[in-house]
Structures are given as C-alpha cells and as structure tokens.
Assembly symmetry: C2
Homo-oligomer: 662 residues x 2
C-alpha cells in the first residue's frame, strides 16, 4: 500500500493491530545517495566502517521506507502479508517553517531510482513528515516560550525572564509608499467591525513589513474587540485573519492556539511514529544488507547516531531488539554453498529452486499484490516483501535438517538464533558481520599490506610489484593507495623482507598502517589485531565511552522475550531440541549436523585454493578459520561456517579495473 | 516550451537562429536550496557576499533554467517572445557512469517548489545532462587513455607508458558455483558461431565477475572471429554482446567505439551548449536579483568559480558581457520612487499601472503563452518571461523622459547603460549593487556596530542597550551576535564612549570588527572603509590575485560591441543624445532630467527621516550619499540616485522577530 501524507493518518490507525499480530516485519529503505567523501573499504574494522557510514552516508536522505508485515496463519499454513510503501520527507511545518534540513543527493543514486520509475513528486509533494523525539521536544519548548513571551508582552508588570527588560517599543513610521496600503486595510477593517454578520475577515496576502504595519495600525484603531492572526495559505503565502473577540475570547483563543501549535508538532512527528510502533512490538525485524537502512532509520526517526560503535549497538538494541540480516544468513552455512550470489535479486531467484521450498504468501485484502514476474525491484515495499519471503524460505529450509523435518520454522525459533543481531559488513573480506549483541571478531590481517604509489599506477603494476608472491587481491583506497592481500598467506612474513624500497611507493604491514592511523587520530582509536594468544580470531576490546551519549529514555522499552516468542507453540518444541536458549551459535546446536551431513568446508578443497582476483571479490581465502579462543568468550565455534558474502558483481569504478572490451 | 532530454536535441538546433535575432534574453533559475551554514548579512562586503554564496550556496543545484528570448519587431511595434523552460540534471553517462555529482537540497526550498507544482520527476528522469568544458576534456582524455591501454594490451610489444609494465595476467579460476553458468555461456556461444544467420548475440545480464569469466573463457575457446562488448540495458543492467568479426573488423570497430564514446561525451555536454550559445551572441542578458542565478549557471555549465571576486568579475565578463538586473533597475531612480516593492511579483503588478506602459508581447507560434492571470510563478520559464517584460516596460519608461519622448527603448541604448553589469546585492543595506565592470563602492559604516551577547537576548534587549541613541536597526548574524545600525548617524562617535562595558556582551565598531576578522583570516583580506579623503564612498582596492585562476580559453569570446548593438537604428540616435558611449552613469546623460524634473531625493525629506525598524529593512537611511571622488575613478556621480533595494517583506526566521500574534 502506497502511503503518503494524504492517507498516513488512516493507515497509522490500522498499524498497531497489524504489527502486534506479526510473526516478523521485513523492512527496506531507498536513499538519495550512498557515499560522500569517505568510501568503505574491504579492510575496514567494524569501528571504521561504522564511522565511515555515519560521516559519509548519513547526510543522504531515506525517502522511501518499505515495510512488509508477515503473519503466519497456522490454520491455512500460509503467511498473510501486509505490504506498505511509505514516502517520507522532512517537510518544514507550516507555522514555524521548521525543521529546515539540508540533505545530500548523489546523481547516480537518483538516476538509479529514476530508472526504476521512482516517483520523486510523491516524496517531495506528498511525503510524510517526521521528527525525532529530540526535535519534537525542542519545537514544543520553542512554541511554549513564544506564547509565554506574548502573554508577558500584554501584561507589562511581569519582568522579562533571564534577560534585560524590553525597551518600550515605538511604533514603526509608515513610509509614504505604504500609506495607500495601510489606508485600504483600515477601511476594510472598519467596515468589517460595523458589519454584524461577519465574524472573520481574511485580509489579502502581503509582505512581512506590511503585516507589521497592519498589526500596529489596527491595534491602535481598535483597542479591543479584535484579534489578529497571521495565517499561511495553500502556497505558503501569508495573510492576516481578523476575528471579533472579547478579552476573554482572546485568552481562550490564545490557549487554543497554543494547543493547536503543540498538536501540529505531534502531527509533524508523522512517520517517526511508525518506527516507534515497530519498536514497541519487539518483533523480529528482517532486512537485507541492513546496515545503511538501520542507521538511516535511527538517525532520521529516532535520535542522532552516537560517535561510538558500542553506543550505536546499545541504541540499536533499544529500537530493534531482534534484527536478522538475510544477507548474513545467505552467506552462512548451510546456505552459503547453495546460494552462489547473495544480492537480493539473485537470492530470490535461487530460493525459487530446489532444495528450497517457498512458503505460500497471501496478500491481505485491499493491499497490492506483488508477484515476482512483475518486477518492482528497488521499490522499498516490494524489496521488503522479497526480503521477508527469502527469510521465510531460508528459515523453513533449516527445518529440513531436523529429525523429523519441520515444514515451517519461526523467526524466534532457536534454529534462527545464530543469525540474530548480526549485520552484514558489506564487502568486508574477512568479517562476516557486525555483531550487535557483543564484541566483534578481529580477523588476522598479517597477509594484508598497505601500499601508496603514483596515481598513474594500475592494478597490474601492483601485481607486478608483488609478483614473487603469486596472485594478490588489490583493494583500492584511492587513486594512489590500496590494500594488497596475498593469496598465499604463508608467505606474508617474507613480503617486507623481499620487496625493495623505492621512492615511488611506500609499503606497510596492515599492523603498521593501523598503528600510524591510530597515532594520527588519537581521539578515535581503532582496534588493532594484537599478536594474540587467543588465536587467529581475537576479540576486540570495548573502548571506553568517551562521548556523553545516552539513549533517549523514550527509546528504552522493555522488550519481553516471552511475549515476543509467544506467537508459536512450535518455538518451545524447537527450543527444546536446540538446547540452551538465547546462546547464539551454540556449537552443540543440532542445526547443521542432523539429517544431512553438512560439514565445514574443507580448506584444502579446490573451492578454497582458487586464487583471488582483482577487485571482484568472490571467495574469501580465509574460509574455515580456526580459533583457540575459549568458547564462552566468542561466537567462535561456528565462525568457521560464516564467511564473507561480498559476492555480487562489484561494478568497479576504478579506471581499467573492469574493462568493457578485451 | 518545456525542454527535457527527450526534445533537447531538436530544440538545440532551433536556438542559434532564435538567439541571434534576439533584442535581449531574459533568464531565471530554480534551485534545490539557497543557503547552507553561512548566511548572507546586510553588512557583507562584496567580497564577503561572493565568498558566502560561493561556499554556502553552490552545493545546491540549479534544476530548472528559464530562458525567454525577446525579439523586437519594428514593423509590428511588438516583441516576439520565445519562452523556454529547461529541466537540467547531471545524469551520469551510461558507459562510464560519470560524472557522479553530490548536491545539496534544502527542505524548505524543495517544499516551496513542490507547492508551486514543480515536477521533480521531469528533472530526475528526463533532465538534460551537462558538462563543463573542463569535465568534458577530462572525460575524453580518460576514454582515450582507456582505449590506448586496451590496444597496448593486445599488442604486448609496446611498453606500458609511464609506469611499470604489467605482469602477465593469469586467468581467473572458475569457482564451482559458477561452472554451470560458464558452461551455459559456452554452449550458447558455440551455437551462435555455428549459426551463419546471426551476426550478433546478446548474452543474459550478469554480474561483473561473471562477465570477467565470460570474457576469459570465450576468448580462450574462440581465439579470433569474435568480439565481446559489455553493454548496458535500459535499466542499467549490464550484459555482453558477442559479434562475429575478423581482426580487421575488430580494429575498425574499436575505432568506431572510441569515436562513439567521444561522441557520447559531446552529447553529455548537453545543456552547457545552451549557455555557450547565449554567450556567443553577446546579447544583453536580463535577470531579476541575478547573483545566485549567474553564479550557479557559471559553476554548473561553464567552469568552477574562482576564489577571488575580481576573477569572478572577469569570468562573468567573458560569459555574459552585458548583464542587466531588473531589481537594480527597479531600486534606482527614476523607478525607485514609483516602485514601492522590488520583488518580481510586486514589480510586475506595479508596472501594469500608470505611469508605466506595458509593450505588446506576442508568443511565437508553437510556444506556450504565458498570461499573468494564469499564475505560473516560480516556473523558471514564466519568471524569465515576466523579468523580460518588466525590463522592456521599465526601459520604455525611460524613453518618456526624452524630448521628444520615445515609445521604445532598446537594451543597448545608452539610457540603459547605467544599469549594465550591476548585480543586486540582496539585502545589503547600503550597497546598491555589485559592480561587474569595475571596483565596488565602499559605503561608510561608522554608524554600524558589532555586538555579541547571550543567546537569550532578543531584539528589544539590544534596542534597550542602545536606547540613548534612538532607534536602531538590528541585523542578526547568529543567535548571539548582530550588527546594530544607528538611525541617527551623527551620534555614531558617542556610542563607544557612552555604552558601558559589561561581561555579558562585547561591542565593537564596524571598523574594529573588520580588522579583527582580517587578522583572523589573513589569506582573505576584506576591504576596510578607510578614513578616506575620497568622501563617503571610497573605492575598494582590487586585491592582488592569489589563486592561479584562469578563465578557460573556450569561454573567452570576442564580443563585438557593434555587432551586438547593430539591432536597432535608434541606438545610434539615442547614443548621440546621451553623449559619450559606454561610459556608464555619465552624470551629463539627459535621462533623468529632461521632460520631468526628477531631482535626487532630498535627504531631509520625511521619506529619509523615517526611522528604520527591526529586521524588516525598508528605507535605507543612507539615501543621497555624496562623494568627492574624481569622476573618472568611479561611477560615483549617479550613485546618489541608486539605493538599496531590499524592500520585500523579510520573512524573519529569528525567534520573536515577527510575532504571529499580538
């Protein structure tokens, strides 16, 4: 269902019931752009990636929010779906003309949306406004202060609060060219006062200065009995409404107006209420490659993003206590070896075929039916529907591993728990996800080197420099620097000894590079992979909180797990099968071993020996990483089955990386 | 006429003839926003204003360019008008996906455009692309380099130019999950090769990595006879085209492709060609309050704006050698006292009435007819038409001062010369214009003070502080600083002696404030009004050029004055009446003295004694400034008749400045 400011209020009324009965909620966002200045890299640390997105992507705007609510109907063995496609725009309020946001657009993203028939007029003309709770409070404060000031103005006995008392205001002199205007207004008002029939007179729209003159003159001529109000017409043109009113009436009307202005602010909170509703249900929220979506949703509709990654995790936990990223799922065993490409379109195609079985989805009456033949890709509502359907299909597939197999697996079932609160770190080579419920993995990067070189260098020049070490993966940072990753990890220790130093280029180990970076920006220390006794995967230390970030109280909701889980009887059963509750990625969980033998990928298999290639990341050479970390310190035991999923065709923007002709 | 990418090429063909025969060309732009971070102030210096707009406004986008070409038909005593409304958007090119601009939007500006029915879809889906000549050259260079690289790749004997020679590329190993895909492609290509009828085969769209595998595999299986090309479909999806071709064919096709890619760049120059055409005619270009329009046009379609104001003036002179700002005209005698408000809408209304006479305008066949009853304000094409018609009306009004009076005055007539190349400095209180053809005036600001104060202060607190000196004009800089301008100039010297110092606020003379500012930013010295022997209006010294800005050669055109002026016979006549040619604002010109006595406004008239009021600028207290400057040093002699024109209702954004209720 298309939702704009025109039907938003009606739709909003229906949402609590629909959301409360949901099995899960799939979401998707469309933005006016992706990256500005800072570009994500394949060797970002989680902190670095978060920081890059926060500083380089949040100035773009989420303009379309897709939400598809999936409700499992046990009696019909099918999902009832309610798809929504919200158009959102930070429209300034009529009276205060606030907030007046500046936001960025990226030509290629706009062009991309336009090519898929995106309706920009719906956004800019009819988009639903929104305010974060902080903005809402500030605006209300502002309005109250303004009203208090006016009341004080009329009763001069009260002292000016907190600052010098106002000087007596002299009336503005009427300039000659305005005399005709003012006389016309006086005549009109005088006639209106004599006329007993009319209670209200709307003067013609005029300039701010003319309104000032009107207020001043009319007030002087008619000491009481009239009330003047500036109003805004349809096109924003401002005019004065003159109303007959006693002093008592005036007070009442002032009171009413205050209330009306406060109500306007509540109305202007608009779309943020939808996010509040989703959050309050505590239902599992599903999205595909969700990091940007989640960050935009929080920033625009909840509260400004904190500087610190750990604070961000806390914030996400408050707003969306149960997130599942279908890209992380698709890139993890047992899906990984059955799903060659994890882009949403490709994923959907793959999940239509054996061994997967698509559940039945029925669209609720009165809602638009999406069918996959009618391609509506990149319309947020459609993408949310596809994401949810992919999730349900993958979830059910996990049930086939049980003995006896289960046809349907709910998102709160412990089979799904390993995927809870893990966000895809797009294109990061060796970190499968950002862990929202705990510290992140630190992959070893001893075989990664940082190289700076002349801007004329191309990939093959770098390959040439490293030719002694076989093939390398080149990850460009900018025109004259790149990360270079060896395929033959065991030769890593030879690189610094073998490659000669030359004035044209500088070569650093990843560790040296990180250390230099940390020294350069001491305020934002990056976690460095230490020569660790914990084995290959060390756990990053949570850095001490520096900024005074606090999650706004309004966002802190008690999310009762049992309430959330109550939806299906089968949850309890499956949880029993799965062993310990709420311990994600328990190595003893039977998910991946029962019924079919899905053993971890053999690191000596051809799949893993295949050399990496330049700029089109495919297989991660780090499959099947081992760790000696104590099990309770990390989700290490199943990380061997979770690998980088940056498999989509990476449309390289680097000159010559991906030639159009050969 | 609405012009989008769909009809642009056809319209472009018709433009040279239409523009060549023009009497003048009126233009107008619509932008995605106005100001970011830095806000213009009423006491900006010209350098400061230029700098603020360059840094604070140029990140927004001009998305609609209105152009109305006015041709005077002597035989019919009327103007034939060709109105155009161009939608422009920096669409990335299909092949290179360049340029990929980031641009800003301001919610209130977008909302404003939306409220006037602006069609954003036309901009983003169908906008005409554009490139500056610098971008065009860079893209062509890039394409040539790419092609040279591929040719070198195929003939390995040639050394890599300028950098290390490429290492021998090993083929990428085909991962197991891609084997099926590659086999499918091989089968398809093999069949295509056998089939004599088909010359071209389009493979299915696939990812970048799959294309890499396809190139590699097909090349290995079919050493010659086939040519593979990556192409982009309608929705940007990429696929490979396989064509049968001999080596000779291939070379030819490569050559053709290079040419096609270069041609694509020429095509992508798109809208910039319109600006080139306007520029090449050298015709007078008319706009209303034009500074932002001109800056955006130059920045988007010609070349990046220089840092220095004097370099900007040079650039404008190259692209638009003859500019006329109708807002400057309307705010100058003999119009000033007959035109109370100089906003375009108000101006148009005033010019419909006595003593003005609107000329006859006839729209060219096939072009949309704008009539003022059908309000299309803020559509750029309509605004351009209104601007042009206002100009023609005002120009003709000047003819009524001649003896005998003249019904029509052409824009190149010497009566108009005083208005040439003077741009309105919007809301600057005491500087009537930016002088594009020479140094700027420096108004005395001895009666202006800079005040910082606690953020809680309101206008009346400042007025209270200055209460000894009568009414003051408060010009807010931000929440806690403002310029304060005395109405009673003669008391200026008492201010610093009289107002006590207090820890809450700081008070500086304008001169002290400027000096502090200059010391803070030594790289960008602001011109300070010196205690001058030149009288009240000193001439700013042109600062030495610091940045290595050069106007691109392509923009330097010989604008032959005689060619431009050749249009009307009357020009010569009137020029003869006016005395010296091309000496703007010659005090001896008969324009303002003949037929009716239009003497300079008396500074003691009530019009000038009227006190200024807070934040709604109306009359400039500095009417009738005198100068002792030698006449050949400045356009000083008629400046007494040119005054600030910031008269529109200034919709104050400052809290409490303009209360909605009283």
């Amino acid at each position: 269902m298309e939702v704009t400011k025109k039907n938003f209020k009606e739709v909003l009324k229906t949402l609590p019931k629909i959301l409360q009965s949901a099995s899960f909620i799939a979401i998707d966002g469309e933005f006016t752009g992706l990256h500005h200045n800072v570009k994500p890299s394949s060797y970002d640390t989680p902190e670095e990636r978060y920081d890059k997105l926060r500083q380089g992507s949040m100035d773009f705007l989420l303009v379309q929010f897709g939400m598809c609510v999936f409700k499992y109907e046990r009696e019909n063995s099918r999902y009832l779906v309610h798809p929504f496609n919200f158009y959102v725009f930070p429209r300034p309020m009529t009276n205060s003309r606030k907030p007046d946001h500046r936001f960025l657009c990226q030509s290629s993203s706009i062009d991309f949306l336009a090519s898929f028939g995106f309706d920009f007029n719906k956004v800019f003309r009819d988009g639903i406004p929104y305010l974060t709770s902080i903005e809402k409070d500030a605006l209300k404060e502002h309005i109250k202060e303004k009203h208090a000031f006016f009341q004080q103005e009329s009763s001069a006995s009260q002292p000016s609060p907190g600052f010098l008392s106002p000087a007596a205001k002299k009336p503005v002199e009427i300039p000659p060219e305005q005399k005709e205007f003012v006389e016309g207004v006086c005549k009109q008002v005088d006639e209106f006062v004599k006329n007993d029939k009319e209670q209200t007179l709307n003067l013609d729209p005029c300039t701010g200065f003319q309104r000032k003159l009107t207020f001043q003159t009319v007030k002087a001529r008619h000491e009481s009995g009239l009330m003047l109000t500036t109003k805004a017409g349809e096109k924003g043109e401002r005019y004065i409404e003159v109303t007959k009113a006693t002093e008592e009436d005036k007070k009442l009307m002032m009171q009413k107006r205050l209330q009306a202005e406060l109500d306007e602010v509540d109305d202007a909170a608009g779309f943020s209420q939808v996010i509040d509703l989703i959050s309050s249900t505590g239902k599992p929220v599903i999205a595909h490659n969700m990091m940007l979506d989640v960050m935009h949703v929080l920033q625009q509709f909840s509260c400004p993003l904190p500087e610190d990654l750990s604070e961000f995790k806390e914030l996400v936990g408050c707003v969306f206590p149960k997130l599942i990223d279908t890209k992380v799922m698709a890139g993890t065993q047992p899906f990984k070896e059955r799903i060659p490409m994890t882009g949403l379109t490709e994923l959907e195609k793959t999940l239509k075929c054996d061994p997967f079985t698509k559940p039945t989805f029925v669209t609720a009456p009165g809602y638009p039916t999406y069918c996959s033949s009618n391609d509506q890709s990149h319309e947020a509502g459609y993408d949310a529907f596809i994401t949810g359907s992919c999730f349900a299909t993958m979830a059910n597939y996990l049930g086939t591993f049980l003995d006896p197999p289960r046809g349907r697996v709910s998102p709160t079932c412990n089979l799904i728990e390993p995927f809870h609160n893990k966000m895809c770190l797009f294109r990061v080579q060796d970190l499968p996800y950002l862990n929202l419920s705990g510290p992140d993995l630190i992959p070893p990067r001893d075989h990664v080197f940082h190289l700076t070189f002349p801007a004329e260098w191309r990939s093959h020049d770098i390959q040439h420099l490293f030719s002694t070490f076989g093939q390398v993966f080149v990850n460009w940072i900018d025109q004259s620097s790149a990360f270079v990753c060896l395929t033959n990890r065991e030769e890593a220790s030879e690189v610094m000894k073998t490659i000669e130093r030359a004035p044209e280029y500088t070569l650093k180990t990843y560790k040296e590079y990180r250390r230099a970076l940390n020294n350069a920006t001491p305020e934002q220390p990056m976690d460095v992979a230490q020569p660790s006794t914990l084995g290959d995967h060390a756990i990053s230390k949570t850095t001490a909180t520096k900024s005074p970030f606090r999650v706004p109280r309004s966002l802190k909701r008690p999310h009762d797990a049992s309430e959330v889980r109550g939806e299906d009887a089968e949850v309890a059963e499956l949880t029993a099968v799965g062993g310990k509750k709420r311990k994600p990625m328990d190595p003893n969980a039977p998910v991946f071993v029962s019924r079919r033998s899905v053993s971890p990928v053999d690191s000596t298999s051809p799949d893993n020996q295949q050399p990496p290639h330049t700029d089109v990341p495919d297989k991660d050479p780090q499959d099947n990483l081992q760790t000696d970390a104590p099990k309770d310190e990390a989700d290490s035991s199943t990380t061997s089955e979770i690998k980088g999923s940056a498999k989509e065709g990476d449309e390289s923007k680097k000159l010559f990386e991906e030639p159009d002709t050969w």
